[in-house]
Each structure stands twice: as C-alpha cells, then as structure tokens.
C-alpha cells in the first residue's frame, strides 16, 4: 500500500504539474522535499541522542523493568506476543506516557527504541510484526491528554479560554484510539488467517539500523 501511495503521489503530482504548467515548481519541490528530509533527520539527532542517553540510564537503573512489571497487564492485553519483562515493554510505556503528556519530541526516540527492541523478536527483519503495527496504531491515533502546542497557539491569538479544547480533544482522541486498536485487532486476525506474506524482493543488505554499533568512520565525520 505504501508503494502505491508513494508512486501515486509522484506520478499524479507530475501529471498535474504538466497540465498546470508548473514544471518549474515540480522540480523545485523535488529538491525542497529532499532537503527537508535531511533537515528533519538532522533535527532529530539532538533529541534522539539526548533522550536515548536518558533512557539508557533509566534502563541501567532498572526503572524500565519496574514500570514494565507494574503496567504489565495493560501491555499484555495490547501486545500479547511480547514476552513479559521484555525490555520493549518499558520503552513502549515511556513512548505512550510521553504522547499522553504531549511531549512529541520525547515520544519519538522512545518509540524508535521500542521498535528496535521489538525488532529483536522479529523472525523476518523486513516485515513488520503485529506488535509493531499495534505500536504504530497507538502512535498515529496519538493519545493526547494535554495538547500543549495548541493551547500555546490559542493563547497567542487572544483566546478567552485557551484550554477549552482539552475536553473535546480528549474525547476525539479516545474515539480515535479505540478505533485504531479495534482496527488493529481485526487486521491482525485477518493476517493470521491468511498465508504468511511473501518476502519482498530485496537488493543490498539490511539497513544499517537497530542496535548495531556505529562504524568508526561515522563517529569521526
């Protein structure tokens, strides 16, 4: 599906640009998008480095394991195929709590770390496991208790009650989250009923990611 959407956006974009006589804008948009991709990735470096450092401290102190044990039943329900006490659970919970507090930039590194831990349980490194899909569903539904950024914007434009949207956001977010979990469950069942998916055609080795140590060259650069 992601292949179809990606190709579709580029081909349709090209078609519209040709018809509207916007070929210059089209070319500019390609390089703009590419530049943005690199800028966003590099913008993530500082946040990732900092939060992954803090999270390692929490892990070494046994904090993640304690939280994981405390909230085990909830996670056990959402992620039935992750073994109890697995480090992934601690990161999943940190990711969820950061999302709840509206700390978007702290949620991403923990979500990534959770994904990396789930990847250690994955038999096929190129295909997402059901647990990974559930984690994504929770993140895209974005469980939010306090929409901090929006309250700030509303305050900025002279709202008489900037926090008035907390209740409506909570209601909408709850509906979206329940829908996401339900849809995830349905899809999980359907996938289990079907034959296992064909492995995709892969050129080159696996992406340099996960918990692999950095090659020394990139440290120097």
């Amino acid at each position: 599906m992601i292949n179809a959407i990606w190709l579709g956006m580029i081909v349709i974009g090209f078609g519209f640009a040709a018809v509207n006589g916007r070929m210059d804008e089209f070319t500019a948009a390609v390089f703009d998008g590419a530049k943005n991709g690199v800028t966003v990735s590099f913008g993530l470096i500082s946040v990732l480095v900092f939060w992954l450092g803090i999270m390692r401290i929490a892990e070494d102190a046994g904090l993640l394991r304690r939280i994981a044990r405390l909230l085990g039943p909830l996670v056990g329900f959402l992620f039935p195929d992750v073994p109890k006490g697995h480090p992934a659970i601690g990161y999943i919970l940190s990711n969820m709590s950061a999302n709840l507090l509206g700390l978007g930039n702290a949620a991403t590194p923990m979500g990534i770390k959770a994904m990396q831990e789930l990847q250690t349980l994955n038999p096929d490194k190129y295909t997402a496991t059901p647990a990974m899909c559930t984690l994504l569903a929770l993140n895209t539904a974005s469980i939010t208790l306090i929409p901090t950024t929006l309250i700030a914007i509303r305050l900025n434009y002279g709202s008489t009650d900037p926090a008035a949207i907390v209740g409506t956001t909570l209601a909408a977010t709850a509906v979206a989250t329940v829908a996401a979990i339900a849809a995830d469950r349905v899809c999980r069942r359907l996938t289990l009923l079907r034959k296992p998916p064909k492995p995709p055609v892969i050129r080159g080795g696996p992406a340099a990611a996960g918990n692999a140590p950095l090659p020394p060259t990139s440290v120097k650069g």
Partner: protein, 162 residues
C-alpha cells in the same frame, strides 16, 4: 523526568554519565538510518502539494461534505494532517488567526490538530529506523484512525460548541 531518572539511577549506584553516553551513541546512527526514508516520503508529499494536485483534491471533497453542516474551511485539514505535521499546524494557525481561536472553526481546527497525527511521518520514521519494508496493515490502520479522529473531532465540537 530529566532530573529524576539520573538521580534515581545515581542512588542505585549506576555510573550515570557512562550510561548516558553509551545510550546516546545509538542516537546518531538511528537518525542517519531514517534519512533515505524521510527524503523519499517528503519528496512525494512536496511534489503532490506543489503541483496543485492536493488543491484539486480538496476542492473536490470540500463541497461534498459541506452538506453535513461541517464548515468547509476545516476539510483541507483532514487531508493535510496525515501528510504533513508542520503543514497542518500552519494551516490550523492560519484558521485560528483568520476566524478567531474561540470561533467554531477555530475550535474544530484545534481539536482535529490535537487528536490526529502525521501518520505517514510516524510510519516512515519508526519503520525506517529498523529497516522494515513491508509494513503490513499498519498504514491502513493509521489512516483509518485519522479519519475516525477527524470525524469525532467535528462531531464533538458541533455538539459542545455548535
């Protein structure tokens, strides 16, 4: 959290600084691993917007949903939201600036922005970081929850503020 975690760890005799550096090392590699995924996705989105295709799609959908008493101004937000976080935040800010933060449109826009997420970005970053190529049904579920969140936000706001 920034002070509690290191203090707790220190009390449990963890070498906090060494732990921090050890964990932080992973951050750089992870960010670099995301680059190709993010560049690919952002180029497609950027091209789609710049060519006028997104405007065309919005012009097509807006009148169709206006019949339900939904202000047409918020509809582009539903299309923009899964594609671009900064783009939709800019659009929301503009709606708040033009119509006022306490107007119905302002309220709906704020609620939509708060209750949905940039699904394509989240998917790209999370799966990109671990090299997943077959995301199975994750995208469908994500987009579905965006649609549900969008509709729920409008319905709740119409009930509460309408």
């Amino acid at each position: 959290m920034i002070t509690f975690i290191p203090l707790y760890a220190f009390a449990r005799k963890v070498p906090v600084y060494e732990s921090f550096v050890e964990g932080a090392k992973d951050g750089f590699g992870t960010a670099v691993a995301i680059i190709p995924h993010l560049v690919g996705m952002l180029v497609a989105i950027s091209v789609f917007r710049a060519s006028g295709a997104l405007d065309f799609l919005m012009g097509f959908i807006a009148p169709a949903l206006q019949g339900f008493g939904v202000p047409a101004e918020v509809l582009p937000l539903g299309l923009l939201r899964p594609l671009t976080g900064t783009g939709s935040l800019a659009y929301t800010t503009d709606l708040i600036r033009v119509h006022g933060p306490d107007s119905l449109i302002g309220m709906i826009a704020s609620t939509i922005q708060g209750s949905t997420d940039t699904t394509l970005y989240v998917l790209t970053v999370y799966f990109g970081a671990i090299g997943i190529r077959n995301g199975r049904y994750a995208l469908k579920v994500g987009l579905f929850s965006d649609i549900v969140g969008f509709i729920a936000a409008i319905v709740v706001c119409l009930l509460v503020f309408g």
